[in-house]
């Protein structure tokens, strides 16, 4: 299998959160938007990079992107299979974070393991081997993402670079949102073609909320509080969103396939050409490339016009 394996990230986030809410007691989901992400067995480093971890293994594509962006490339000992950006990350030794094997990770001799999910007792397994871990679960707001970037930077001895990057991201994103100011109308964000969607209490939902969108998924009860809810086709058609954002474009969904679904040709977004194919490697992560996600949404509003 020569081709790079692509992972559908957001759906798994949703699934994991549902699973966690169903009784998994690791309780890592919390509410990372209001409180900074917790759970860390590493003493947050404030000293110079000399004392900082030098063999970091990142089990999360988002945090791999963050590490490269704050100049920690030299400190990375390995990344997981989903870490495909920047291209240099492809060249690092790889582990499969979805079929987690603690031995595989330990063999890389890490002095810090960064991960976004604790699906299968990863943290406990690493702690048992006295490997320092930093669990940074998906934030639910843009602010949470900036905070997490700074937290990661501090942990790897690059707090200043991280603070600088967070500040520039914030400035650029605020600028893009301000320039697009207006009332873009309502939207449906498609996570996968079984019509799972993300409501405003998710990271991507917060991005849309900042633009002033009304998210149709907010009307659906979210029993598990995961922010990811499944809609029925009838509900989507009846809601008639002004925009459709496809988070599953990498999996073959396009404006054309959406138009072919039974009854969807009657949707305003389809008829007015407001079905936007997002890059799921960007829309499913909360790293430095969030700026590009925001730009893609801003461009869509500007080029395709609102209602």
């Amino acid at each position: 299998m020569g081709a790079v394996r692509r992972f559908r990230f957001l759906p798994l986030v949703g699934l994991a959160l549902v699973m966690a809410a169903c009784g998994d007691t690791t309780a890592t989901t919390g509410d990372p938007g209001t409180a900074p992400p917790t759970t860390s067995t590493v003493v947050l480093a404030t000293e110079a990079p000399a004392g900082a971890p030098q063999r970091i293994v990142s089990l999360s594509a988002t945090h791999t992107e963050m590490l490269y962006a704050i100049g920690a490339a030299e400190q990375i000992a390995g990344t997981d299979l989903t870490s495909n950006y920047p291209p240099a990350a492809e060249e690092t030794p790889k582990v499969d974070s979805f079929n987690f094997d603690v031995e595989e990770v330990a063999a890389m001799d890490p002095d810090l393991v960064v991960l976004a999910f604790d699906f299968a007792g990863e943290v406990a397994a690493l702690e048992a081997l006295s490997i320092p871990t930093l669990l940074l679960p998906p934030p639910t707001t843009l602010e949470g993402a900036y905070e997490q970037l700074e937290q990661l930077g501090t942990a790897v001895g690059r707090g200043d670079a991280a603070a600088e990057l967070a500040a520039s991201m914030r400035a650029e994103i605020d600028g893009l949102i301000e320039a697009a100011a207006g009332e873009p109308g309502s939207l449906f964000h498609e996570v996968d073609n079984t019509l799972f969607s993300a409501n405003s209490s998710t990271f991507i939902g917060d991005v849309y909320r900042r633009f002033g969108f009304t998210n149709i998924a907010d009307e659906v009860p979210d029993e598990f509080g995961s922010g990811f809810v499944q809609l029925s086709p009838e509900f989507v058609i009846d809601s008639d969103p002004d925009f459709i954002f496809l988070g599953d474009a990498a999996f073959g969904e396009t404006a054309a396939t959406v138009a072919q679904r039974p009854g969807w040709d009657e949707l305003t977004a389809v008829q007015e050409g407001r079905v936007v194919e997002l890059d799921s490697d960007i829309s499913g992560r909360w790293g430095p490339r969030t700026v590009e996600l925001v730009r893609q949404v801003a461009d869509a509003i500007r080029e395709r016009g609102g209602p």
């Binding site: 699934l15 499944q230 009838e234 009846d238 999996f251």
Partner: protein, 347 residues
């Protein structure tokens, strides 16, 4: 377990039970097109359907979008639910007769496991959780599993129905293992696979109805034609042989028809469990043991049951949806227990 039907007395399908089943089906289908997350006026929905009938043209007063909800979503979904339910229930009844085993169901010979592997492979390859390519792969997997079951059973010593059932168990275990392996390797699509396995009518349209309908017609016709022979077979395989029934031929015809029909049903709707067991047994407990009664009543009753289950799946957490397989088992199992108790008391 098998009880010989009163061969002496003429057994007919009486109008009463059939009318009850047909009434339930009509009511479930009517509610199915009326109710949904979008609140549409009942009169408008009715007129819209009348408008779509050939030669008739009326103004329903619905907008284009509302009309699409009625005609592109609700109507094909209700029709497909009826076809799938009818097929699975009738196939289950026929299986129970031909294998003389009360636990036989349409998935006995590996249909479910084969379809599951086929669908999982298609989804892992990027075909998505719904649509014709996934349905085609599921159908191919189902047929492959059943052919393998038959081939395996032939190598056995006696070639009895017991052999066939054991071969089915082995094949199903193997296909399920293969499916789990593929699913693990392609963990990014795991939820689509689960969603398919639990059964889902939400994303179906007329394309699926057109695909399934001819198979259901042919399969149901073959099974209906076998109803008298199944009654004779119920007396016992050897006895049926002495009465001139070619039991091997009968078995092949019934199994082929029931399997093919179920395989296509499963391919378009996912693995909806329990219908093939609960509906024919309920009919049997209420009306007696003749297949001349069970098969047609299971056909109509199965359609009503699945349309009603789908209605619940849509309404319980509206505007979200439950997987229909959850509803059929959750409602079906207790309902079946009640029927079983009542029938025992009455007896």
């Amino acid at each position: 377990m098998t009880v010989a039907p009163a061969l002496a007395a003429p057994i007919r399908l009486r109008a009463g039970p059939l009318a009850v089943a047909a009434g339930a089906l009509a009511a479930a289908m009517a509610l199915g097109v009326m109710l949904g997350p979008a609140s549409l006026p009942a009169g408008g929905v009715f007129l819209e359907i009348v408008d779509r009938l050939p030669l008739l043209s009326v103004d329903s007063g619905l907008s284009d979008r509302e009309a699409a909800i009625v005609w592109e979503l609700r109507v094909p979904r209700v029709v497909l639910g009826a076809l799938v339910g009818a097929m699975l229930a009738m196939a289950g009844g026929a299986y129970q007769g031909v294998f003389r085993n009360p636990l036989a169901d349409p998935y006995l010979l590996g249909v479910a496991a084969g379809a599951g592997l086929g669908a999982t492979l298609a989804i892992a390859a990027g075909a998505g959780g719904s649509g014709i390519p996934t349905a085609g792969a599921a159908f191919a997997g189902a047929v492959a599993a059943v052919v393998l079951t038959y081939a395996l059973a032939r190598t056995g010593s006696t070639g009895s129905t017991a052999n066939l059932i054991l071969a089915g168990v082995a094949v199903a275990a193997f296909f399920t293992a293969a499916q789990t392996f593929v699913q693990q390797r392609a963990s990014d699509t795991i939820r689509e696979v689960f969603s398919w396995i639990l059964g889902r009518l939400a994303t179906v349209g007329w394309a699926e109805v057109r695909l399934l309908a001819p198979f259901v017609v042919v399969s149901a016709a073959v099974l209906f034609a076998s109803r008298r022979l199944l009654d004779v077979l119920a007396v016992g395989e050897e006895e049926a042989g002495t009465l001139g029934v070619r039991t091997d031929r009968l078995r092949l015809a019934v199994v082929a028809a029931a399997t093919l029909g179920s395989a296509v049903a499963v391919a378009v709707s996912g693995l909806i469990g329990f219908v093939g067991i609960v509906v024919p047994h309920t009919v049997r407990l209420l009306t007696g043991h003749s297949y001349r009664v069970i098969l047609p009543l299971a056909f109509v009753g199965g359609a009503a049951f699945l349309v009603a289950a789908d209605l619940l799946a849509r309404l319980v957490i509206s505007p979200g949806e439950l997987p229909i397989g959850v509803v059929t088992a959750f409602i079906g199992a207790p309902f079946f227990a009640v029927v079983l108790r009542t029938a025992r008391r009455a007896a």
